[in-house]
Amino acid sequence: MAATSMAAALAASLPAPSAAPAAAQPTYEAIPASMAKVVDIEAEIPLNLVQLDGMVVTKIIKHAREAPATTAHGLLLGLDLDGVLEVSNSFPLPNHGNDDDGKSAKSTARHQAAMLRSLKEVQADDSVIGFYQAMTLGAFYHQSLLETQAVHQERLRHGGIVIVHDISQTARGNASFRAYRLTAAFRDAYKKSNFSTTSLINHGLTFSRILEEVPLKIRTNPLLSAFLGKLTESSTSVPTLGEKDELASELGPSFSALDLGTGGMTKNLERIVEALDAYRTEEGNVSYLTRQIARERAKAENYVAKRKEENQSRVAQGLAPLPEEDVSRMFKIPAEPSRLDSLLLLGQMDAFGKSLEGTASTGLVKMYAANAGTHV
């Protein structure tokens, strides 16, 4: 799949995190005393805030809107300073669909390297700090996302972040950006690539503990906010109601939040049902495998018990006991199934439920608001 290939491509192209700053450090001038506390070469200060630049916001929205379905993903560039991760630029990555793995992975890596080189030439930030992913209806628990993030975890300073952007919510007038990173528990389980039931219990992993949210802040640089201020400034040329001119802005108010249509709800319900079906199938698989394991184990135990009994009777008869054979070689006990898939499906279901809940609650408010208007 394209997803795994993207992860592989990233792994191939990203520089090792320790190498770049450490190698470059001696050539820099000494860090001024005032900055010594906030500049950390070893990435020791933990991240507590992600700061998203206004340009990145528009870039992601544009890419997410134009790309088919939820295939839009790209890289985030920026710097971290004193616990604040500043995302100052981003660029989209090509979407290869279902091409053969190796080729698309390589071309993605090439694309990324070329893009970074080009951006460096025009003094833009060129250090990768994470990636963004578009999604609909709040469902971003996908294996591909986790895999990419797991690759970043090892390669990038601070393990990198992922910013998810909800297209459906944005269309309703609420541009939604959220920043996440993997939790320590999930990283540990992923490193051992062990998602068996016992591992889940040991790590206390539920779907809500796979990713942890990092607070996100939108920043517009002074030039941009000045420009925006200029755009929204009142223009006297538009005829309005007498002296109320100061309220009229060139941007005009937006009312997409007031749309009474509930078309999104049907889609949302469909997605929930799909996720439920997928979850049922997955559960069926898991329980089938569990039964299989139980059966094989019972067979093995049966055999051992029988052999013991036989040996006892042989000892009683004064014969030499038969050798204890290696049971595991005779009976293939299948490995315990990974519960990651069902975990993720549950997470998706929860996300769909959450967005449905949100739609329903705003729908209620809108209905009462519209109804209030008819009785005046």
Binding site: Q123, A124, I218, L223, A226
Partner: protein
């Protein structure tokens, strides 16, 4: 939505060129998307000390819009920076950089083609003409557009965006000579981009203090409803002022209000029809209400089931 100050320039269009089928028509207006504009501003911020202005390539699409009298509308969808250097004697544009960057952008979004170039500052000079000449070759057979973004950082200049197309001048056309003809430029965005702009606008006054977490749908809805109710109050105040004779009514405003508000009040079938309609509305409302409540219940049910299921998975073997 117009960007920048109104200019008194007349936008002269040579419409007779339409008869010649083989020459592409000249663009009549330009739509700039916020992404392109913001990229330009970001590039300007990242310029080196020695650069007075920065230039770059504009990507986008051209459409024929039959609604505006068959003019060609150029949509500028994104922009990327291009290296260049200007001295008193010469100007150099890194063409190789431009090409490779275009290749990269083209791979991600094949629909976007080169439509022209941008520069910051609004002074057009010989170098502008030379660069324009270069981009005209890139966009051939279409005409290249030039978008000049005034960032407004210099005193006495207003921030704004201007767009130009060029035509050769003189008996023997030379690359360094051309006439830049201004054409109208508008900032345009889709509904989805609009909400992003709202987000930026809401965050721009508070520069660095409070972390603006993504607001919930309900908050957005609340502000929209408050906005609408404010507007109704304004209209009401205006109408009552006119009715009381305190202010002279503007017929244009009155007609506009009639158009907007008259639709809901319209009485199509007399009193009985209104009554039946009211009842239909009521029953429709209550059934929709039940549906919505059901959805909310279902959503909660799904979420709690998912939560319970994931917790149970943790205690399966004990």
């Amino acid at each position: 939505m117009p960007v920048g100050s109104k200019s008194s320039a007349i936008n002269v269009q040579l419409t007779t060129a339409d008869s010649l089928q083989n020459t592409p028509r000249t663009p009549t207006s330009i739509h700039v998307h916020p992404v392109a504009l913001f990229s330009i501003l970001d590039h300007y911020l990242r310029r080196t000390d020695s650069q007075h202005r920065v230039i770059g390539t504009l990507l986008g699409a051209r459409h024929d819009s039959s609604s505006t009298g068959g003019g060609v509308v150029v949509e500028v969808k994104s922009a990327f920076a291009v290296l260049h250097s200007e001295t008193d004697e010469q100007v150099a544009v890194d063409m190789e950089y431009h090409r490779s960057m275009y290749e990269l952008c083209h791979k991600v979004n094949p629909k976007e083609v080169i439509v022209g170039w941008y520069s910051t500052g609004s002074n057009l000079n010989t170098y502008s003409a030379l660069i324009q000449n270069f981009y005209s070759q890139e966009t051939a057979p279409h005409q290249a557009i030039h978008v000049a973004v005034n960032t407004g950082v210099e005193a006495g200049q207003e921030a704004g965006v201007k767009a130009f197309i060029s035509s050769p001048v003189g008996v023997f056309p030379k690359p360094e000579n051309c006439v830049f003809t201004p054409i109208p430029v508008e900032l345009k965005f889709h509904q989805a981009e609009r909400s992003g702009l709202d987000l930026l606008l809401s965050s721009s006054p508070s520069t660095s203090t409070s972390p603006t977490q993504p607001s919930t749908d309900l908050e957005i809805l609340e502000s929209a409803i408050v906005n609408v109710s404010d507007m109704i109050d304004r209209v009401l105040a205006y109408v009552s002022a006119v009715v009381n004779g305190e202010k002279e009514g503007d017929p244009a405003v009155g007609r506009y209000l009639m158009d907007v508000l008259g639709v809901g009040i319209g009485v199509p079938g007399g009193a009985e029809g209104e009554k039946a309609q009211g009842q239909g509305e009521k029953s429709g409302f209550s059934s929709a209400l039940q549906d919505t409540l059901m959805m909310s219940y279902l959503a909660n049910l799904v979420r709690s089931q998912a939560e319970v299921s994931s917790r149970l998975a943790l205690t399966a073997i004990s």
